[in-house]
């Protein structure tokens, strides 16, 4: 089934001593999507990801991967995981380290070596293959770790804050690689607290705050659902018929009319397509008809309030 979700999280709750990190969270990640898990620091993103990886187990709820067969650990050869806390064996040579990381995912040694050499070349690290990981800059180490995540050609990539700590150039390189991998058929789940980043990259998102889901679904749908009520309309030869359309309270809640340009607030439940039809029907020459999209950030603030949007707790790293 091409549309079955790759990751299915159902009613998952995780409590740590003293507080609930994730509460009743459900989400579905469709195959081939670039899926953003968004929220301020301390919202429960990393805890959720660690549960998906079955590094920790949920107290309640169910997580199914690839249609429900096996846990994150059993399927680890199909998953590439870049944790939030990065780390490499400092004393190991880069190439040996990558081969090791691929081998524990079950890639045969010679294949692992070939893939690693390929990727090092692709990310401009070919000259560093024989160096110790410790001799590399932070940015380079992060790239090496990313290579370790994708060497076994995983069907599902789980990246926890993949762009954190990268300079703009490297962030760009990394973004391009993620998009390429998604185009090649991988499903990508990544977490970030930077909404603007997710907005450009994601097909679908799930926004969480204080361990609970605020909203999820395809990005376009979310924008349509939460917002999309703000219109900019420019009309030539606007006559009384056009005025009547603007004054129809079943269509337009509020109109700011400048003569041949107007900013409209759609009535709740009103369809912008019907408004356009009415305008055409009123023989207006429409030169501009734009549904002004709210930013993800604005939707988020609207939904949870500015207070919840601010980081409120250090994400718990202790798991028993």
């Amino acid at each position: 089934m091409p549309n079955e979700p790759i990751v299915e999280v159902q009613g998952v709750t995780k409590r740590f001593a003293g507080h609930t990190a994730v509460h009743g969270l459900s989400l579905n990640i469709p195959r081939g999507a670039i899926y953003g898990l968004l929220g301020p620091n301390g919202a429960g993103k990393t805890t959720t990801i660690r549960m998906i990886m079955s590094i920790i187990l949920p107290d309640e709820g169910r997580i199914a991967l690839f249609g429900g067969r096996g846990s994150g650990k059993d399927l680890s050869h199909r998953i590439g995981y870049l944790p939030e806390e990065r780390g490499l064996y400092k004393k190991m040579r880069v190439l040996d380290l990558l081969v090791f990381l691929a081998e524990i995912k079950g890639v045969p040694r010679s294949q692992a070596r070939a893939n690693a050499v390929d990727w090092l070349g692709r990310l401009g690290l070919a000259d560093w293959a024989a160096k110790k990981a410790d001799d590399l800059s932070k940015g380079m180490q992060q790239k090496v770790q990313f290579i370790g995540t994708v060497l076994h050609k995983p069907a599902l990539l789980i990246l926890d804050e993949p762009f954190a700590g990268l300079d703009p150039v490297n962030a760009q390189v990394m973004k391009d690689v993620v998009v390429d991998l998604a185009r090649a058929g991988s499903t990508v789940l990544f977490s970030t607290h930077i909404m603007e980043q997710a907005e450009k990259l994601c097909d679908s998102v799930c926004i969480i705050a204080r361990g609970e889901k605020v909203v999820d679904g395809p990005l376009a749908e979310i924008k349509r659902r939460h917002g999309g009520s703000h219109l900019v309309v420019a009309v030539e030869r606007g006559g009384p018929a056009v005025q009547r359309v603007f004054e129809d309270r079943s269509l337009v809640a509020k109109a700011d009319d400048y003569g041949n340009y107007a900013e409209l607030e759609l009535a709740s439940g009103a369809n912008p397509q019907r408004l356009l039809r009415e305008l055409v029907h009123a023989e207006a020459a429409v030169t501009r008809f734009e549904i002004a999209e709210p930013t993800l950030h604005k939707i988020f603030i609207d939904l949870v309030g500015p207070e919840a949007a601010a980081p409120h707790a250090v994400e718990e790293r202790v798991h028993a």
Binding site: M53, I55, I56, G72, K73, S76, I79, Y81, P83, E85, R86, G87, L88, Y89, K90, K91, M92, D96, F100, L101, E103, I104, K105, G106, Q145, G148, R317, V318, H319, A320
Partner: protein
């Protein structure tokens, strides 16, 4: 299983590649050689001729005869200084200033030495057992002859009565004569203790270091997403153990080679001196296969036991320095048989020796030492191995549970109650 193999190989290759492994492998035998051979060489080399003055206040020529006998011993140059009984103390006081300036010491003898066996030596070498033994033996012999002479015994009989006795010791195990001298058995037990203690401690600590490294560098998060914690732990312990076996194999191989050619080696050190002769004739025992098997079995079981405990300790802490502190109880367990080593050697069949060789935390060292010192009944060896193996399994089970939770924990070190929860979890 393949994944465990990958972990084993990484641990092994990365360790063998380090310069520390190479240095350790080369320096190990040098150090061993030093620890064992140096005292012997030092003792022999240090045995230069001592300059001793005999302050003679005797009246019947005893002082002269004693000086002569000391001179014959070869290691003492005795100068006799005849003094009147009244001047003895005063002369002694003035001689004291000479000690350390070409003079090693002086012996005070008067007629009292023959009458009631009292003499006195003052010198800078009184802490040397070898020197004091020569003085004592010579003095005793001289007094013995003197007393017999006084009783009118013929000098020929006196000298025949003084022929020394040499007691050769031969070890018997399991009712069989081994052709191994007591000294050789002692030496073997000593080497066994040294190797086992060092190896279990060094490689156990390496396992601990490896766990701490993965935890502090946060590599572990990626590892546990690919591996079961138990596989990671098992691979690590086996990998480090293999490095240990390799290193000891190299040492034992070189050691065997050096032993077989010790005469040539001794020759290289200096031609024909007493020291090299002593080294060449040192009583190295033949090591039977059974002893090698016992040694390796206890090394492996002991290493697994302690490596598991070291790994659990490492999983609980956040840094190298915390680990060094937390390891103390584990190291203490390992030190117990070392502290009681002399007790085991003095009485290899005693109750304490038996207990230490059965208790699993001390048996990896105590049993091989006992085995080397004297025969141990097969039942006891079997019992000890079974107890140890069961303990290894139990400790590994507990350690793996602590490890599984601990490697992903950062922050406060867990208390006993918290640990119990991890193990139950």
């Amino acid at each position: 299983m393949h994944k465990i193999w990958v972990v084993i190989r990484r641990e092994f290759v990365e360790r063998v590649r380090t310069k520390w492994f190479i240095i350790g492998t080369v320096l190990g035998p040098v150090l061993m050689f030093g620890v064992i051979a140096l005292p012997i060489l030092m003792a022999e080399k240090g045995a230069r001729v001592r300059n001793v003055v005999v302050l003679d206040a005797t009246t019947a020529g005893f002082g002269e005869r004693l000086s002569g006998m000391l001179g014959q011993s070869g290691s003492v140059a005795a100068t006799r200084l005849s003094v009147g009984g009244a001047d003895l103390e005063r002369t002694a006081d003035s001689l004291a200033g000479q000690v350390g300036r070409g003079l090693d010491g002086f012996l005070l003898v008067s007629d009292a030495v023959v009458d009631d066996g009292r003499a006195e030596y003052r010198g800078s070498n009184v802490t040397s057992p070898a020197d004091m033994r020569i003085l004592q033996v010579t003095l005793r012999g001289a007094v013995f002859s003197e007393r017999l002479r006084r009783e009118g015994v013929e000098p020929g009989i006196v000298s025949r009565a003084q022929i020394p006795v040499d007691l050769a010791t031969v070890n018997i195990r399991h009712g069989k004569v081994t052709g191994e001298s007591g000294q050789a058995s002692f030496f073997l037990a000593y080497v066994m203790w040294f190797l086992l203690y060092m190896a279990i401690l060094l490689y156990g600590v390496q396992v601990m270091g490896s766990v701490v490294e993965e935890k502090t560098s946060r590599v572990v998060e990626v590892l546990v997403s690919s591996l079961k914690p138990f596989h990671l732990l098992a691979g690590k312990v086996i990998g480090v153990g293999a490095v240990g076996l390799l290193q000891m194999g190299i040492w034992v191989g070189f050691g065997k080679l050096a032993l077989d050619r010790r005469a040539e080696l001794a020759g290289l050190l200096g031609h024909g001196s007493d020291a090299t002769a002593a080294l060449a004739s040192m009583p190295f025992p033949e090591v039977p296969l059974a002893t090698v098997v016992i040694f390796l079995s206890y090394f492996l079981l002991g290493f697994f036991l302690y490596a598991a405990m070291f790994a659990a300790v490492a999983a609980m802490v956040n840094s190298e320095s915390e680990a060094r502190q937390a390891q103390t109880p584990v190291v203490m367990l390992l030190v117990i048989p070392t502290v009681l080593m002399i007790g085991i050697l003095n009485n290899p069949d005693g109750g304490m020796s038996l207990a230490l060789s059965l208790i699993p935390f001390t048996s990896p060292i105590a049993m091989p030492v006992r085995w080397a010192a004297a025969g141990v009944p097969g039942v006891q060896v079997l019992g000890s191995i079974v107890i140890l193996a069961v303990t290894v399994l139990a400790i590994t089970w507990v350690a793996a549970r602590v490890y599984r939770v601990g490697i992903l924990m950062y922050g406060k070190k867990p208390g006993i109650r918290e640990l119990a929860r991890w193990v139950r979890g």
